[in-house]
Symmetry: C2
Subunit: 327 residues, 2 copies
């Protein structure tokens, strides 16, 4: 057995947290030979419920679970963390304006950014799941000057997986037959699921589905899939979100498969006309524990328009919270 790694999870008693923790503890993230220490953060009123979750984790007798700690203090949960899943966020309440939601979350992620900066391992890899994920990641990063911004990412993998699954279903193929789908931009309804580079069973995806379906049905359906799940299930996506977070981190560590890529919200390096530093979803390949945005893709006018629309939304979000940036 290797030495344990420390994994911090925020919002650990929530529905996504509950779906995520048992898979992390079972070895689904780092494999059966890598023990993990889970460092769980919750708001004070949820600590009792979290204790019940800790009991259930114990009751699994996982050989890969070295230890579990709980806290309502980010400083404690992020101490020496090698990985951080920032799942907890303030949900949109009744009558709340989007700007209220942005600022409410900005405060949470400012605090967490500082705590990561002061307490996490220098190589910590962070995924922000809590919405608005891209801008929350940006705030986290801008309050953690001692951590390379490339280590703080936002999840668009759930959108990516939805895009893969809905394309596979349309093309009567399996998910494994689909490659090079990507999500550009914000994890919001402005996101742009791009099939111009995608293949199904080795053939171009856009030769296998019709253009009207792609534009009028597929793009909005991927972007609004969360609402579709809520309408059926009576609860928001939890297990699929947890799975996406796990896969985002696993691919980052272990690499993407040959001939394929995935989508991650990352600080732009200026590629594709996206302003440097904006946390924007790009197609990326992962290798050797690092991710690299896919370079040199053709961007036609159809794509350009959508990539810019979601970029503008992210710029507006950034401008609405910039008073929360340190320094």
């Amino acid at each position: 057995m290797k030495n344990p790694v420390r994994i911090a999870v925020t919002g650990a008693a929530g529905q996504i947290g509950y779906a995520l923790l048992f898979r992390l503890a079972a070895g689904d993230f780092l494999g059966p030979d890598q023990p993990v220490r889970l460092q769980l953060l919750e708001v004070t009123p949820a600590l009792k419920a979290l204790q019940g979750v800790v009991m259930e984790l114990a009751d699994c007798a996982f050989t890969t679970l070295a230890d579990v700690s709980t806290s309502d203090q980010a400083e404690s949960a992020f101490k020496d963390a090698d990985f951080a899943f920032l799942v907890g966020a303030k949900p949109r309440g009744p009558g709340m304006e989007r700007s209220d939601l942005l600022l409410g979350n900005a405060e949470i992620f400012r605090v967490q950014g500082r705590a990561l900066d002061e307490h996490a391992a220098r190589g910590v890899r962070v995924i922000v799941v809590g919405n608005p994920a891209n801008t929350n990641a940006l705030i986290t990063s801008r309050n953690a000057p001692g951590i390379n911004p490339r280590q703080i990412t936002a999840m668009t993998r759930l959108d990516h997986n939805r895009a893969v699954a809905l394309l596979a279903a349309r093309a009567n193929a399996g998910a494994a037959d689909v490659r090079r789908v990507c999500i550009w931009g914000n994890h919001s309804t402005t996101q742009y699921p791009d099939l111009h580079h995608a293949t199904v069973s080795g053939r171009p995806a856009l030769q296998q589905v019709d253009a009207a379906w792609y534009k009028d049905e597929y793009i909005p359906r991927v972007a609004k899939r969360g609402a579709e799940v809520i309408a059926a299930r009576g609860a928001s996506s939890a297990a699929s979100a947890a799975n996406a977070a796990l896969e985002h981190m696993r691919d980052w560590v272990n690499g993407t498969r040959s001939g394929d890529w995935t989508s991650m919200g990352i600080p732009s390096d200026g590629s594709y006309g996206i302003p440097e530093g904006l946390v924007y979803s790009f197609p990326v390949t992962c290798h050797g524990g690092n991710y690299t945005p896919v370079a040199g893709l053709d961007v036609n006018a159809f794509s350009r328009e959508r990539m810019d629309a979601t970029r503008r939304e992210l710029e507006e979000e950034r401008d609405a919270v910039k008073q929360m940036f340190a320094g």
Copy 2:
């Protein structure tokens, strides 16, 4: 990739089902090279919520998930099933007598036993999770004369895992250091967690904990752990129950580790004075896809008394539902 296997899951939209399905679909049961078809059963009013779960399963783009079907008819869900996780059961309502609970569930499992008998693969392996699990398994079996009763089992793995974890914690050891714990009898508060054969780090467990703790704290705490979780979490054990169900089936298929055993509710072969056919939890080893009760263990007076008490409870349960047996 191999040919898909068919896995039926009942109560699929419930909390245990929700925690179980994503792990089955992710390959946690049969590995990354074995595609699965999930055949999900729910009561009619839960079919809409189940559709939301199916969407989330699709949204994971699992390469090991070949197909998902849903139904409110056992005949359909069990069609050609290679494995069946019988999770759904009637919960105990306010003012309900134990006999009402037994009979209400007996009717459910009579129907499911017949459906398995008529529609499942002849080699189907069944785990009953829904309570009262042992007696529900007995009814299922007694209504499925064409299926070897040894293929229809009840889950005591959650109790087993709890017993391992609580012993490990007491002995300041890891779960992997604990071996040969076992649960005898009924998945109820009469169950008997037996440490007389258990070791921690190779040394006898009962030399490492004191006798009063074992008798007065450990045994009742393992037996009542479910209530402890509910009190903290505000909801009953779900992810830990799903994990136990998965491990029960995985060990049955893949085998128990060398030098260790697990606990399964199985039809007694008459060993240890337990009447033949009663579904009673025994220590078992698994090898080559089969389980074998551990033979020849010494049973002292302390153990005998507890093994008989839980046996008597199971006989009473059996007698309360025997009008539900076929033939």
